[in-house]
């Protein structure tokens, strides 16, 4: 009997002991989310608070430019101010986040503009995470009042970078070819404007044709091709001084210039005896070195951001295709094998992609591919899109778009994902855009 009871007790103990083990160990649920819904971020940007009686208009202007910048990027959706339930009156007070959540704002920008006693403008702003209920960024700028647009672009750049993790590109400029007049007598002038199309200025008179302008890395120098004296040659234009000079005095035509990432060299195409090849010119010594020797047309060089490689187009394989070589001309290899002809490769400032123009019949579109030729995809769907140029963050491109029938060229921009295609407003027709680096 006693032994039986001991046995029962042991079994009971085993049972009790087994209970926790028999309950499944607390296994938390695991969930993988790998599909999302890419949408612009709803962001509230009320007019900046005037710090003094004369600052109200500045506050409206700056907030307006910031809203326009962010909206244009396609990654933000600035909310209509009329729907705001909270009136921001103090930049130093933490906002009432539930009020902003109520209108579905995920980000909030509060700012203030104050004219200083010395005449300068002081701009403060804060970026708030409405759901996280925390400040993400707080910056302050000083400038002369006439530079308010640049301050606004810098605010936009800061917000863009903080939210997306990528550098902004709003405080940049675009150099382009402005076209006016009838088709048989087009006047093409070199022009420059802010990234948003503001402050357009002509840089050349229009007496001679200009083509393919390119910025140097400091955005202070432009290389371009011009037909001065009926011979196409490459010229350098100093934006600060307005001086221009011919780049080398070659007996034949030179074209398609592109600065190296350090700004010390220019790759260009030089035509000799009917054969176009790519050369490298050292801007300090003006020494020139030949990189390609193929009897086919080699042109449109573009440096990789590390300066070690050059992409270019060549028709050596019977059709125009994209090739890559080392900066000394060695290791030339074809990378584009897609349909049609592919040309004008432009290396992304980030280095991960090459943008190019694909021609299929009379149809021209812009595409991107990896530097090894993989992952080719087209990102525009116009009838005649060509000549891509990258934003300094490698995220957005501009290009020239012509409608069928030659009804004038326009500049358009598109996100590298192929989304957010939109026209860049220019005075009159415009082509050949080149995007500057971020202004220093």
């Amino acid at each position: 009997m006693k032994r039986f009871l001991i046995l029962c007790a042991a079994l009971a103990a085993l049972l009790v002991g087994a209970l926790p083990a028999s309950t499944p160990a607390w296994a938390a649920l695991q969930v993988d989310v790998n599909q999302g819904n890419v949408q612009p971020l709803p962001i509230a940007i009320p007019d900046f608070i005037p710090g003094g009686p004369n600052d109200a208009q500045s506050g409206v202007n700056i907030a307006g430019v910031v809203r326009a910048d962010l909206e244009r990027s396609g990654l933000f959706r600035p909310l209509d101010q009329h729907g705001f339930t909270e009136h921001v009156t103090n930049i130093n007070a933490v906002p009432g986040f539930p009020n902003w959540r109520a209108i579905n704002a995920q980000g909030l920008v509060t700012g203030q503009v104050t004219q200083q006693p010395d005449g300068r403008l002081r701009v403060d702003f804060r970026l708030w995470d409405v759901y996280g209920e925390s400040q993400m960024l707080g910056l302050q700028f000083f400038t002369t009042p006439e530079n308010w647009r640049r301050i606004a672009h810098m605010v936009s750049d800061a917000i863009y970078e903080r939210i997306t993790g990528e550098k902004g590109y709003f405080d940049t400029r675009i150099v382009f070819i402005s076209e006016n007049g009838p088709a048989i007598k087009r006047v093409k002038r070199l022009a420059i404007m802010d990234e948003d199309g503001a402050n357009p200025i002509f840089l050349t008179r229009g007496d001679y044709m200009v083509l393919t302008p390119r910025f140097n890395p400091t955005a202070q120098m432009i290389a371009y091709m011009s037909y001065i004296g009926a011979k196409p040659r490459i010229y350098l234009f100093d934006i600060e001084t307005g001086k221009q000079e011919m780049l080398g005095n070659f007996p034949n035509m030179t074209f398609s210039p592109r600065f190296s990432p350090d700004g010390n060299q220019v790759a260009l195409t030089l035509e000799t005896a009917g054969n176009s090849d790519i050369y490298l010119m050292d801007l300090r010594t003006r020494a020139i070195r030949r990189l390609t020797t193929d009897p086919a047309i080699d042109t449109a060089p573009s440096f990789s951001p590390d300066g070690r490689q050059i992409a270019f187009e060549s028709d050596r394989g019977s059709s125009k295709q994209i090739y890559v070589m080392n900066v000394d001309g060695s290791g030339q290899r074809r990378i584009s094998f897609g349909a049609g002809e592919n040309g004008t490769p432009v290396w992304s400032p980030r280095g991960d992609l090459l943008a190019f123009t694909k021609q299929q019949g009379s149809h021209f579109t812009i595409g991107v591919m990896h530097p090894d030729g993989s992952g080719e995809r087209m990102i525009t769907n116009g009838y005649h899109d060509e000549g891509p140029t990258w934003a300094p963050n490698g995220r957005v491109l501009m290009f020239t778009r012509e409608a069928p029938g030659g009804r004038g060229a326009q500049i358009w921009s598109v996100d590298v994902t192929g989304r957010n295609e939109r026209r860049v407003l220019t005075p009159g027709d415009a082509s050949d855009p080149a995007w500057s680096p971020l202004i220093q």
Binding site: L7, C8, A12, L14, L15, A18, A21, S22, T23, P24, L29, Q30, V31, D32, V33, N34, Q35, G36, N37, V38, L41, N92, A93, V94, D129, Y131, G132, E133, Q135, G138, L139, Q140, F141, F142, T144, I151, I163, T164, G165, E166, G197, P200, I201, F202, L203, R205, I239, E240, R377, I379, T417, G418, R419, N420, E421, R422, L425, P427, G428, Q440
Partner: protein
Amino acid sequence: MSSSQSPTRNKVAAQAALRRQRPTTARGPRFGVVGSVLFHGLIFAAALFTFHRNFETPEDSHVVPVDLVTIANQTNVTAQAPPTPPTPEKMDIPPSPPTPPPEPEMQDVEPAPIPPVPKFDVAKEKPPPEDTKPVPPKKQQQDDFNALLNKLTTPDKPVKTAKAGPRVIQGVGAGNMMTADIADALRGQIYRCWSPPTGAPDARDLIVDYDLSLNPDGTVSRLQMTPGTAAAATGSAYTRAAAEAASRAIYECQPYRLPQDRYSLWREINPLRFDPRQMMEP
């Protein structure tokens, strides 16, 4: 004679005494059956609890309540019709507004040098990170801005969510098979709020893991990046942007509609992984 009892009698008496000590034939079987039943019952119960999973066949446990079917339908719709088309989505070019925006007027300055880019005094000051000492400001302007930051008046932070629910242990024996539909349901609800920053050159920078605790009403009780993961350790701006986008999605889409009777299964989600690589493939 009393002292000299016969051996036979002694033997009979001893046997009688022995009989008295043993159970009677009437009591013996009754106790044995009860004991046996109890004994075997205990063994069976011990075995049942100890080897519980072995006994539970999928058919036995796969009770499909009505709400489960509903959820399955919802999630199937999502899974079968992903919102992102395989080809890059084009935004429609907006039609020209009735009054087209005026084209900017060009200043007709003939070969005019552009004025030198003006210098800016830019004072950058971020709010001090929680775990690091703020860098002492170097400029007067930064002093000013620190003062500005310090002037922040913090109202009482509203309580965003309700208290965490009690740790009820139920749903004993539920395996992954029982949670697949819940994972699907949660995924199907979060995805519509998740707009990851897809611009990074390396998509692996954008993978983030969160530990999420939910209240019984489906609201967020606690959220933190899973400690020890690469995303939590890296300071990359891309990763931070990805983590914040995921966090916004989690908060924006709450409360989550999940089967109440199986709260114990979705009370803790760890990890809740956000991986946008499929979305970034060309």
